[in-house]
Each structure stands twice: as structure tokens, then as C-alpha cells.
């Protein structure tokens, strides 16, 4: 049962954040000093809180920490702030405005799993790097934290890719098992958590699991950061209780129900949903899964009415196809094939006899790579073809749709040459 109201959403992570960075003194005035609670008690609190990972997978954070902790020996903590998702800005915002919450979270997580070293990973050229450096210089960390800048490829921020890169290899996903929690950085059990997850840990350590559970969905409590993109205002980050209806979030961001026909939820590995369905859906992992989607990285993009969803899907498909790691045959062959077909659907050079080939590729590509990149891409594309069925029919028949002349909408990074992997 959700406890949401549209009147006032309690800010937790973002409490105290106005404009600019929260310095150490302000941070400690707001939250108090770093708790000295022992690792075992901290772990119990995180487990009791029901906190789910905020990086996209939604795996229970306490369970992940427990698995690494029992691995024994000198473990490693990696805070993943590399936000590869173009439509997401929450990690960048958190690191720029409230870095001390994240840095606290790293220390607490290190205490829980017995880590002797920690890494905070951001994408090279990220705007949060400077703020993090300054924040790190303001404090003394028990467990040393190294700030590292990851290559800007889309798949580079995948868990095993980050670990492989930290070990000196390319920032490309590796074949699993073993997963990082078994064997990660320097071969040791490694805890990889999204920076938002660690920030929540820092708040739970101060106020306890009951406080954390007091807001949000009963099964997946707490708050989460969402990035809302709508016409005119790209990438607003808001903190909402879990289980808040998506419609409420969009309205708060200034999007009225009539403005949009479809909402992209999760990210470019997520799903399109019809606007009327999305409006009532609670923003939670289980509700979205039940509707055939996923919470992902908390991305919400409302496609303005009158735009061509097929064309936007095709643009993103081309981006995803260009950003495969080039390691696995089905992905490196299949995604460009699918993207090429979508491109032809949009430019009008489509021959409908190619449709079975496109369907075949969409069925044969998922699940056959080392990571979930092809799966996410195909899921995103399939949802687009389904939600924008009317536009699809027009394109297949060779009739252009109204939105084709509109400017491009979904945010994508400027086309770069092949990404470097080191």
C-alpha cells in the first residue's frame, strides 16, 4: 500500500540540497557524523530496511552485502557512479550536490563487508568529478577511496565491465560466473553498488530501518531518485517515495495527461508504456514488472504528443547497436541488423517482405550475450513497436506519419568515434 500524496514528498537524500554542493560541515550538521555502528549491526539494519539496489537490477542490497561479507578475506567496495544511461541524471546530481552521503555510504559498506580498499567510478568527462574530488579532500576516510574515470561507452558501467577495467582490462562485460561478489577486483569478493544505493545506506545508518520503511511502497520501501524528461525541461531529478503513481510524478514535473501519448520507463534498456496505463502505475519494481516493464534506472521520459515514437525508437536503437562491446556474435551482428531495419522503416525505404527477418532477429538475439545489453535493447525496441503500433502500421505501409518531420527528442550523446575501452 503506497503512502503517497502529491502535496508534499518528503526529501531524504536530497534534504538540505539546494543549489550547489553540500560541504562536509553542512552535511554533518544535517545528518550528524558518520555513525560508529559495527558492521554486523549495520548489515542487519540494511537487510531489515528492504533497500533494493538503485542501479537498475533492483537486487536486495543487504543480501548482496551479506554474500560479499561471507566471502571473507580482504574484500573491495566499488561505488558505481558511472551513469551511462543518456536519459538519466540522478547519479550525477547526487555526486555533485550530496557527495558526502555517497562517501559515507562507501565507508559504511566497507565496514560491513570488511573491505580494505574502495573505488568510486564515474565516467570520464563527467561533471561530477570535480565536486567529488573536493568532497574527498574535505574528509579523512578510514578505508581509502580511489576516484577513477571510466571510459564513456554505454556498456562500460555494467558491473563485470567495471571490475574488469579496474583489473587493468577493457571496460567490457566479462563472461559470468564468477560474478564480482565471488571474484572481482584483484580476484577478491567485490561489492558493486550504485551510488544512490550507498547514499541510502548512509541514511539508514543514521535513522534506522523503521525510518526508512516509513515511506514508500510496503514491499519496496523508501525513496528513490527519478530523472524526468519532458518537452522543454530535460533531465529534472526528483526524489519520490517508491510506489508513487507515475502520473503524479509527471504532473509534478509539469506534464499534463494530454501532453503525452507514451512514457518510456527505466531507460534505453527499459520499456515504452501507453500514457494512460503508465499514469496509474506505481513506480516500483513489482508493479512495473507486472505491467511488462521495469523500474530500471528511474528514468521517465514522456514523449510529447504528435511525435513519432517509431522514429525515436529507431534513433535509440542505432545508438545501442553502435555501443555493443563487439564481443558476442548475436549482439554485434543482430543489433545493427535490427537498427538498420528500423532505420529503413523511418526513411521510407522499407519493403514489408523484410518484416519476418526483423521478427526473427528480435527473437534470436536476446539471452545470447555475455551481458544484458542485447536483451535490454530488444525489450526497448519491442515495446516501442507495440506501443506505437499505429505509427508502425503506417511506416510498414509506406505512409509517413505526422511526427516524422518533428525534431529529434530522446536525448543521445553527440556521435563520437568508436569509444575507447581503457
Amino acid at each position: 500500500m503506497s503512502s503517497t500524496t502529491t502535496s508534499k514528498w518528503e526529501r531524504r537524500l536530497l534534504s538540505g540540497v539546494q543549489n550547489g554542493r553540500v560541504a562536509l560541515a553542512e552535511h554533518e550538521a544535517q545528518w550528524g557524523p558518520l555513525p560508529t555502528t559495527g558492521g554486523a549491526d549495520l548489515l542487519a539494519q540494511v537487510q531489515a530496511s528492504g533497500l533494493l539496489g538503485r542501479g537498475g537490477a533492483g537486487f536486495p542490497a543487504g543480501r548482496k552485502m551479506l554474500t560479499v561479507a561471507v566471502g571473507g578475506g580482504k574484500t573491495v567496495v566499488v561505488a558505481n557512479g558511472a551513469e551511462g544511461e543518456p536519459a538519466s541524471a540522478k547519479d550525477r546530481m547526487l555526486l555533485t550536490r550530496a557527495p558526502h552521503l555517497v562517501l559515507d555510504g562507501i565507508q559504511l559498506a566497507a565496514r560491513i563487508v570488511g573491505a580494505t580498499e574502495a573505488y568510486l567510478v564515474v565516467h570520464a568527462g563527467s561533471r561530477s568529478t570535480d565536486a567529488v574530488y573536493v568532497a574527498m579532500s574535505e574528509r579523512r576516510n578510514r578505508v581509502p577511496v580511489q576516484l577513477r574515470e571510466l571510459p564513456t561507452a554505454y556498456v562500460a558501467s555494467e558491473e563485470s565491465a567495471v571490475v574488469h577495467w579496474l583489473n587493468g582490462g577493457d571496460a567490457k562485460p566479462t563472461f559470468t560466473p564468477p560474478r564480482p561478489f565471488e571474484r572481482g577486483v584483484h580476484g577478491r569478493p567485490t561489492l558493486v553498488h550504485n551510488v544512490e544505493t550507498l547514499a541510502h545506506v548512509a541514511t539508514i545508518a543514521r535513522h534506522g530501518s523503521d525510518w526508512f520503511r516509513a515511506t514508500g511502497d510496503a514491499d519496496e520501501p523508501g525513496t528513490l531518485l527519478v530523472t524526468v524528461t519532458c518537452d522543454g525541461v530535460p533531465g529534472q531529478v526528483a526524489e519520490v517515495p517508491t510506489g508513487t503513481p507515475i502520473g503524479d510524478i509527471l504532473t509534478r514535473a509539469g506534464i499534463e495527461p494530454g501532453d503525452t501519448d507514451a512514457v518510456l520507463v527505466g531507460g534505453y534498456f527499459g520499456t515504452w508504456l501507453p500514457a494512460d496505463l503508465a499514469a496509474q502505475l506505481p513506480l516500483s519494481h513489482h508493479a512495473l514488472r507486472a505491467a511488462g516493464g521495469g523500474l530500471g534506472a528511474g528514468v521517465l521520459v514522456a514523449l510529447p504528443a504528435g511525435r513519432c515514437g517509431i522514429r525515436e525508437t529507431a534513433r535509440v536503437a542505432a545508438y545501442l547497436a553502435a555501443h555493443n562491446a563487439g564481443q558476442c556474435g548475436p549482439c554485434l551482428n543482430g543489433l545493427p541488423a535490427i537498427a538498420g531495419a528500423l532505420q529503413r522503416l523511418c526513411t521510407g525505404e522499407w519493403d514489408d517482405r523484410w518484416w519476418p527477418a526483423l521478427e526473427r532477429w528480435m527473437s534470436v538475439v536476446p539471452g545470447r550475450g555475455a551481458c544484458r545489453h542485447p536483451d535490454g535493447a530488444v525489450r526497448f525496441i519491442a515495446s516501442g513497436l507495440s506501443v506505437f503500433a499505429a505509427d508502425l502500421a503506417a511506416h510498414r505501409a509506406g505512409r509517413p506519419c505526422a511526427g516524422v518531420t518533428q525534431p529529434a527528442f530522446l536525448p543521445l550523446p553527440a556521435a563520437t568515434s568508436r569509444p575507447s575501452w581503457r
Partner: protein
């Protein structure tokens, strides 16, 4: 080493054995190399000749070659006519007879042993490590070729040795062309709009 000395000892059975075993070993090695080059090529297989058949041939010919190599080496060491030091089967340069060319043979043998042992233990090592080591074959065969050419009297004094050497070289050249000269991807039902992103 004069011609007359060689002909005077023509009836030595060890000497004959070592020469013939060596020649056979070399031919087998050449065939093994050629089949190894062909083993994974889709273009060189068919419904009636699957690639695992080529793979098995490659393996068995290599092992057979090793067998003949061992005979070649043992009979050479046992033969007191030419002084080839006891350690020259594994240590290059230990032979008093045609030191340099025998040494090439020694190194070739050492490499063949490494190739075979690592291949028998292939499943216990990283695939890429095994593959890297297996490229030693490209060094082992030329050494064996030169060893045959310059150590074996058959190549210098009996023309057939030279011809055999050259035939093996040409056969291997053909295998190379077949391996590296053709593309190997299957053509699917729909030629996709493919852009390689590697």
C-alpha cells in the same frame, strides 16, 4: 664427412633406421600441419567430411609423427658412427656432428613436444594461452625443414630427399592459401544490413 665415408657405412641398420624414421616423421609433421590449418575452416569441410574428422587426423598424425621422431632420435643417439651427444635430443648445440643443423632439429623436437603436451592438456589451460603456444608450430616446421635439408645426407647427396623437402613445402603453402585466403562465414537466409562495429 666425405662421400666415401658415408658409402662405406651404408649397411649400418641404425643409420638407415634413423634416416627413414626422420623422413617419415617429417612427412607426417607436414601432413599434421596441413590438416591443422584446415581443421576449423568451414569452407574446407562438407557433409561427408566433417571438421572433427580433420581435427582427429591432425591429432593422430601428430602423435604418430612424435612416435617416429622418438625412433629417429633414439637410433641416432645409439648409433656410434656419428657423434651426436647424449643430451642433444633436448639441448641444442650438444652434437659434435653438424652441430648447427642438428641443433635446429633439437629445437624443432622440443617445440613439437611442447605442442603435443599442451594440446593433450588443453582443457586445463586458458584457451587463449593454448592458442598462443600452438603458434609455435609455425616455428617448429621450418626448423624441421632446414634440419632435413642440411643434416640428412639424403637431401644433399640423394636428390629424392631434396625433392621431398620441396614437395612438402609446396603442400604446406597450399594449405596456407586454403586457410588464410578464403572467408569462412556462413551465408544466412537474409543477407543482413550488417555494419561491423569491431
Amino acid at each position: 664427412m666425405t662421400v666415401s665415408a658415408v658409402s662405406a657405412l651404408g649397411s649400418n641398420p641404425l643409420w638407415y633406421t634413423t634416416r627413414s624414421a626422420g623422413v617419415i616423421a617429417f612427412v607426417l609433421l607436414t601432413l599434421a600441419f596441413a590438416f591443422g590449418l584446415a581443421a576449423t575452416k568451414r569452407a574446407l569441410a562438407s557433409r561427408f567430411w566433417p571438421r572433427f574428422a580433420t581435427q582427429e587426423l591432425h591429432r593422430n598424425l601428430s602423435l604418430l609423427a612424435l612416435g617416429f621422431l622418438l625412433v629417429h632420435i633414439v637410433t641416432t643417439l645409439a648409433d656410434s658412427y656419428v657423434h651426436v651427444g647424449w643430451w642433444s635430443w633436448v639441448l641444442p648445440g650438444a652434437s659434435g656432428y653438424r652441430t648447427f643443423w642438428v641443433a635446429l632439429g633439437t629445437i624443432a623436437f622440443d617445440l613439437v613436444v611442447v605442442l603435443i603436451v599442451t594440446s593433450l592438456l588443453r582443457h586445463r589451460m586458458a584457451a587463449r594461452l593454448w592458442r598462443g603456444i600452438h603458434y609455435c608450430a609455425y616455428a617448429a616446421w621450418p626448423l624441421a625443414f632446414l634440419h632435413f635439408l642440411k643434416t640428412g645426407t639424403d637431401a644433399a647427396h640423394g636428390r629424392w630427399g631434396l625433392y621431398l623437402d620441396v614437395i612438402c613445402l609446396l603442400a604446406l603453402g597450399g594449405a596456407f592459401a586454403a586457410r588464410w585466403g578464403t572467408s569462412d562465414h556462413p551465408v544466412g537466409p537474409v543477407r543482413s544490413l550488417r555494419s561491423r562495429t569491431r
